[in-house]
Each structure stands twice: as structure tokens, then as C-alpha cells.
Amino acid sequence: MDAINSRPLMVLRLATAATQEIGSTPQGALTVFPVTGGSFEGERLRGQVLAGGGDWVRARGDGVLSLDLRVTLETDDGGLIHMTFSGVRDDANGYFRTVPRFETATPKYAFLNRLLAVGIGEIRPDGPVHIIEEVL
């Protein structure tokens, strides 16, 4: 069986504020990364990340971080897109992958409602960057 194909959707750069350490709870150690802004850019869409989102990051017992992000994207032509992802960040193995989902009411971007995507994450000095591909 052939491999599953993909094509670039966007590169997402997030700006985050100081983390909020909720601490050790029955579900693991929880840290909130507030998202204060950022940008996204791809062939089919580009724009800004609005403040008000965040990533709820849980440290699991096996050393892997489990991610749960929600943000709002605003395209350069005014479309609003609700984006979420779950994912895993396993620093010991250099593995940082997410599965983003999108919801929008803007007809031009309705294709986002119908696709699955995979993100490759990196932590850079100026914040996290996610290279997101559409699963074809």
C-alpha cells in the first residue's frame, strides 16, 4: 500500500506569554501556555493568530507532553478560523507532532472544514513553530 500523501497547508508561528503552572493534578502536571499572537502563512491562506488562545500541556507519566491547543486565526482578508490541535511532544525522542482541525464559516476557507492535517512542531528561540500539512 502506498504511503499517505500530504501537501503544505501553512507554517504557524505562535507567540506565547509566561506560562501558568496549574501544577500536579490527578490528571498529571498541567501547564497553560497562553497564546498572545503569531502568524500563519501558506499558499492558500495567511494572516494573524489572535490573542486569547492557549495550549493546555499535560506532562504524562511516561515523560511525553500531551498538547491541547485552541486558537483563533484571522486571515488577511478578514476570515475567522477556529483551530484546535491535540498532539504529543516527546523531547527524549525529538518527536513533536500534532493533528490540527479547523472550523470556519467563511466560504473561501470552507475547504479547511473538510480536511485532516498533521503538524510538525519545533521550539525555536522566538517561540513554537508548526509546519502543517494537509493529509491528501
Binding site: 500500500m1 504511503a3 499517505i4 500523501n5 500530504s6 511516561d62 511525553v64 491535540s86 498532539g87 504529543v88 516527546d90 525522542n93 518527536y95 507532532r97 500534532t98 493533528v99 482541525r101 470552507a110 472544514n113 473538510r114 480536511l115 485532516l116 498533521v118 510538525i120 500539512e133 493529509v135
Partner: protein, 150 residues
């Protein structure tokens, strides 16, 4: 995106339970009647008890799938698998699937994102990966080709 084959899964679907129109679309539940999975690193059976696919047909024609099932490997490990997926395509293709015909899977979009949880050390690698699956809806149930995202 680099991937490698994790497993091929043959799912048997039982009788659909049509919940009907709900505020977000038309909902139905597909209980799984079992099945098998096989790949280079694991193989075994799908346990029919507590395995089903909760489906919502959205007003835009996209079928959202929320599958949860329990896998048992041939050496006795239990693995919880959940996956979110989307299925959509040209109306005539979707209608043919609805009539129980076998159609070329390249003519419609059927992709899912499986996640796994297990306590068995031999399969702990599944806890740490993200996967993508391509589906092929056959009359008896879907065949999923599941790839690990590298």
C-alpha cells in the same frame, strides 16, 4: 510528511443504529462486530464489545467519524484505539457506498487520525506516536491502512 506502515485493519460493521436528526446533523452509531489488524510490529483482533464508530453527517455533507475500539494483540496485550475521521466525496460515490457497493477509494476522501493507549511495555511505542489512516469502505466494513507519522 514521512510515514511508515503501522498496520492494516479490517473492520466488520454491525447493524447501524440510526439516531436520526440532531442539532448538528444526522447522527448514527455503527457498532463494530470485530475485525483484525496486522502490521510489521503488531497483529491481532478487534474486540467487538465496547467498540463502535459514532458518526455525524454534517449539513455540509461531510461525515465525521469518532471511532473507539479495543484491540487485543496475538500475545494478549489490550490496546485502546480512538480515531477521529472525515469522509466525503461526490454525491454519486457516497450514494454507491450507501447502497453497499464497492467503490474505488481514490474517488472519495476517507481519512482518520488514530491514537493509541496501552499499558503493555511491548507496545508502549504506540502511546508516543501520531498516526494517519486511509480508509476504504467495503460492504462488510472499512479497511484502514494506518501509517505512523514519522
Amino acid at each position: 510528511m514521512n510515514t511508515r506502515l503501522l498496520m492494516t485493519m479490517h473492520v466488520k460493521v454491525g447493524t447501524l443504529l440510526n439516531i436520526g436528526p440532531v442539532p448538528c446533523g444526522v447522527r448514527r452509531t455503527a457498532p463494530l462486530g470485530g475485525g483484525t489488524f496486522e502490521g510489521p510490529r503488531l497483529r491481532g483482533a478487534i474486540l467487538p464489545a465496547s467498540s463502535a464508530d459514532w458518526q455525524l453527517l454534517r449539513p455540509d455533507g461531510v461525515l465525521e467519524m469518532d471511532l473507539r475500539c479495543t484491540l487485543r494483540t496475538d500475545d494478549g496485550a489490550l490496546i485502546y484505539m480512538s480515531s477521529f475521521g472525515l469522509r466525503h466525496g461526490p454525491p454519486e460515490v457516497i450514494a454507491a457506498i450507501g447502497r453497499g457497493e464497492t467503490v474505488d477509494p481514490s474517488t472519495y476522501y476517507f481519512r482518520t487520525m488514530p491514537r493509541f493507549e496501552t499499558a503493555h511495555p511491548a507496545y508502549a511505542f504506540l502511546n508516543r506516536l501520531v498516526a494517519v489512516a486511509s480508509g476504504d469502505r467495503r460492504p462488510e466494513g472499512p479497511i484502514y491502512t494506518i501509517h505512523e507519522v514519522l
